[in-house]
C-alpha cells in the first residue's frame, strides 16, 4: 500500500511540475509581454524603462532560473503581487478559496446525494418507465451547459418573482441563511449537470454488476433483494462512481469560472477570469496552476480510494 501511495504521489508531482512549467512558458509567450502589461504600450517603447523593469523582476535571467525562483516562492505560498493593484495574490487566494470550495462541495453533495440513489433505482428497475424517465431527465440536464442553465434560472427566478438573490455573495459568518440562499442558483447551475453525470455512471455500473455471477450467488443463497443491493451491488459498483466524482472536480473548477461570473460570486474562478481579462500575469499564473493542482490532488485522492475499495489495485 505504501509503495502504491508513493508511486501515485510521485506521478502527481510530475504532472504538477509539467503543468506549472507549461503555464510559466505560456505566460512568457503572451504578445506584448510583461513590459507592455506593466508600463503600457508607450512605456514599452522606452528601452531604459524596459531595462529597469527587466532588471528589477529578474527577467534577464535564463527562463529556467526565473521558473526556479517562481516555483520556490510558490511552494512557500508566495505567488507575488498583482500588477494592477499590487495586493498580495496569496492573500486574495485565501480570501476567495472559501467561496469556490463551498460551491464545489455543495454541487458534489447534490450530485452524489441525488445522482447515486437515482442511478441505483434506474439500474434495478431496468427497462421500466421509471428507468426511462430517470435516463431521459439525466440526458436532458447533461445537455444544458452551465452558462445556459444559469441564464435560464436567472430569467425564471426574476420573472416569477421568486425571492432568491440572482447576484452577489453573503459570507457564512454574516448569515448562514443568506449564504445558502445566495448559493441556491449557482449550485443548481453547476450541480444539475454533475448530478446527471453521476446518475448515468451509477446506473451503468450497477447494471453491469447486477449481471455478475457473485450477485446470482448472493440471490441464490436467499438474501433479500434489498440486502443484495446494499451489501453486494453497491460496493461492487463503487469504483466508476468514485472516478466520476473525482473527474467532476475538474468540471466544477471550470464551471466555477462561468458560474461565479454569472452570479457575481467573489471566488477563485472569477479571480482567474479577471487576471486574464486584465492581462495581470501573476494572477493568471497563480490561479491556473492552483486550479490544476486542485484537480491533480483530487485525482490522487481518487486513486487512494480505489485502492481502498478494491485491494487488487494495490498489488498491480
Amino acid at each position: 500500500m505504501l509503495r502504491f501511495i508513493v508511486t501515485r504521489l510521485v506521478l502527481a508531482v510530475v504532472v504538477l511540475l509539467g503543468i506549472s512549467l507549461i503555464v510559466f512558458v505560456a505566460m512568457r509567450m503572451v504578445p506584448g509581454g510583461f513590459a507592455t502589461a506593466m508600463l503600457g504600450p508607450q512605456g514599452a517603447q522606452q528601452p531604459e524603462l524596459v531595462d529597469q523593469l527587466n532588471e528589477r523582476y529578474g527577467l534577464n535571467d535564463p527562463l529556467i532560473v526565473q521558473y526556479g525562483v517562481w516555483l520556490k516562492n510558490a511552494l512557500r505560498g508566495d505567488f507575488g503581487e498583482s500588477l494592477g493593484t499590487h495586493s498580495s495574490i496569496s492573500h486574495e487566494l485565501m480570501r476567495r478559496a472559501g467561496v469556490t470550495i463551498e460551491l464545489a462541495l455543495l454541487s458534489t453533495l447534490i450530485s452524489v446525494g441525488v445522482g447515486v440513489p437515482l442511478g441505483i433505482i434506474a439500474a434495478v428497475k431496468r427497462g421500466t418507465p421509471t428507468d426511462a424517465g430517470v435516463r431521459g431527465l439525466g440526458l436532458l440536464f447533461l445537455s444544458i451547459p452551465d452558462f445556459v442553465l444559469g441564464t435560464l434560472l436567472i430569467y425564471f427566478v426574476s420573472t416569477r418573482g421568486i425571492p432568491l438573490p440572482v447576484s452577489g455573495y453573503v459570507s457564512l459568518s454574516e448569515s448562514v441563511a443568506g449564504n445558502l440562499k445566495a448559493m441556491v442558483l449557482p449550485v443548481l447551475s453547476l450541480g444539475l449537470i454533475t448530478t446527471a453525470v453521476v446518475m448515468r455512471v451509477t446506473r451503468a455500473s450497477v447494471a453491469e454488476v447486477l449481471n455478475e455471477p457473485y450477485i446470482v450467488t448472493a440471490r441464490a443463497k436467499g438474501l433479500s433483494p434489498r440486502d443484495v443491493t446494499r451489501r453486494h451491488v453497491i460496493r461492487g459498483a463503487l469504483i466508476p462512481v468514485i472516478t466520476i466524482v473525482g473527474i467532476n472536480v475538474g468540471f466544477l473548477l471550470s464551471g466555477a469560472v462561468i458560474v461565479e461570473e454569472i452570479f457575481a460570486l467573489p471566488g477563485l474562478g472569477r479571480y482567474a477570469l479577471q487576471g486574464i481579462l486584465q492581462r495581470d500575469y501573476p494572477i493568471a499564473q497563480a490561479t491556473v496552476v492552483l486550479g490544476a493542482a486542485m484537480f491533480v490532488m483530487s485525482s490522487f485522492i481518487v486513486d487512494l480510494l480505489y485502492a481502498w475499495v478494491d485491494p487488487r489495485i494495490r498489488y498491480q
Binding site: L11, V14, V15, L16, G18, I19, I22, V23, A26, M27, M29, V30, P31, R126, D131, R135, L139, L140, L142, S143, I144, P145, D146, F147, V148, T151, L152, I154, Y155, S158, T159, R200, R203, A204, A207, E208, G250, F251, L253, S254, G255, V257, I258, E261, G269, A272, L273, I276, L277, R279, A284, T287, V288, G291, A292, F295, V296, S299
Partner: protein, 302 residues
C-alpha cells in the same frame, strides 16, 4: 471473439451483435434507421440545424446585418419570427449566422482532434515502451487542466477569437482520442489475425491502416460525436464570457451573452439562442448514446 476476429477484422464490431454470421446483416443507413429510430431522428435534427445555419439567412429570416432603428426589441412577428435585438436586427437571421460560426468551429476542432488524437494513440499503443510512457504522461498533463482554465490560458497567449477557440477545443479533446485509440491498439497488436498478417509479411503501415484502424472506427465515431457537444459547450462558454468569437460576428455563445443583457426587456433575444444550443447538444448526446449502443450492446443505455 477470437474466431470472428480471425475471420474478418474489419467486421468484428459489426457482426458481434448477431454472432452467428450466417445471415448477411443489413448495413448502411437503412439498417441504422431500423435499429435506432431515435438516433436517426437526432441525426435528422442535427442535419436540419446545419441546413438552417447554411441557408437560413437566405430564406425569410431577414438580413442579419440590417439595423432597423424603428423596430428595436420587437417581439416575434411575421416579419421577424424570433423578434429583433437591441439594434432591431432579426434574431432568427443572426441565430442562423451564429449557428454557422459555432458549428463550423465545433466540427473543425472535433474533426482535427479525432484525426490527430487517433494517430497519436495508434502510434503510442503500437510502439509501446518509452514512447507510450511519454505520450501517456503528456496526455495526463493535458487531462489535468480544467477545460476553462486551459481555455483562458490559450486565449491570453493567442488573443480572443476563432483561432484560439479551435486551439482550445483541440487541446481539450485531444487526450480523450489518444486514450480511445491507444487502448484497443494495445490489445489488437497482439491479436492472432494481426500476428498472422505480420508473419505473412505485411508492412507496419499495412498492419496499422488495414488491420488495426478499421476496428477503431466505432469507438472513434462515438467519441467524435461526444466531442462535438464538448466543442459546442466550450465555444459557447468562452464566447459567453467575451473571450471567444468577437463582435460584430455572432456565435451561439455571444448571442446568449447579448441576450442575457437584455433578457428582461426582450426575453426572445436570450431564449432562442439558449434553447437552440441546448437542443443541438441534446440531439448530439442522444445520437452518441445510440451509436454507442449499436457498437457495444453491453453499454446500451449508459
Amino acid at each position: 471473439m477470437t474466431d470472428s476476429a480471425l475471420a474478418s477484422p474489419a467486421a468484428t464490431t459489426a457482426t458481434s451483435s448477431t454472432g452467428d454470421g450466417l445471415r448477411p446483416r443489413p448495413r448502411g443507413f437503412s439498417a441504422f434507421v431500423r435499429k435506432s429510430p431515435l438516433g436517426a431522428f437526432c441525426l435528422f435534427v442535427i442535419l436540419f440545424a446545419i441546413a438552417f445555419a447554411l441557408i437560413g439567412p437566405f430564406v425569410g429570416t431577414g438580413n442579419p446585418e440590417k439595423i432597423n432603428p424603428l423596430s428595436v426589441f420587437a417581439g416575434p412577428s411575421r416579419e421577424f419570427p424570433m423578434g429583433t435585438d437591441y439594434l432591431g436586427r432579426s434574431v432568427m437571421a443572426r441565430l442562423a449566422i451564429g449557428m454557422r460560426v459555432s458549428l463550423l468551429i465545433a466540427l473543425l476542432a472535433a474533426g482535427l482532434a479525432a484525426v490527430i488524437g487517433a494517430a497519436i494513440g495508434l502510434v503510442s499503443g503500437y510502439a509501446g515502451g518509452i514512447v507510450d510512457e511519454i505520450i501517456g504522461r503528456l496526455a495526463d498533463i493535458l487531462f489535468a487542466f480544467p477545460t476553462m482554465l486551459l481555455g483562458l490560458l490559450i486565449v491570453m497567449v493567442l488573443e480572443p477569437g476563432i483561432q484560439s477557440l479551435v486551439v482550445t477545443i483541440l487541446v481539450v479533446t485531444l487526450p480523450i482520442f489518444v486514450r480511445v485509440a491507444r487502448g484497443p491498439t494495445l490489445g489488437l497488436k497482439s491479436a492472432e489475425y494481426v500476428i498472422a498478417a505480420r508473419v505473412s509479411g505485411a508492412s507496419t503501415r499495412r498492419l496499422i491502416f488495414r488491420h488495426i484502424l478499421p476496428n477503431l472506427t466505432g469507438p472513434l465515431l462515438v467519441q467524435t460525436t461526444f466531442s462535438l457537444s464538448v466543442a459546442l459547450i466550450a465555444e459557447g462558454a468562452l464566447s459567453f464570457l467575451g473571450l471567444g468569437v468577437q463582435p460584430p460576428q455572432p456565435s451561439l455563445g455571444s448571442l446568449l451573452r447579448d441576450g442575457k443583457t437584455y433578457m428582461e426587456l426582450a426575453p426572445w433575444t436570450m431564449l432562442f439562442p439558449a434553447l437552440t444550443l441546448a437542443g443541438i447538444i441534446l440531439a448530439i448526446n442522444l445520437l452518441g448514446d445510440e451509436l454507442q449502443g449499436i457498437i457495444d450492446p453491453r453499454l446500451r443505455g449508459r
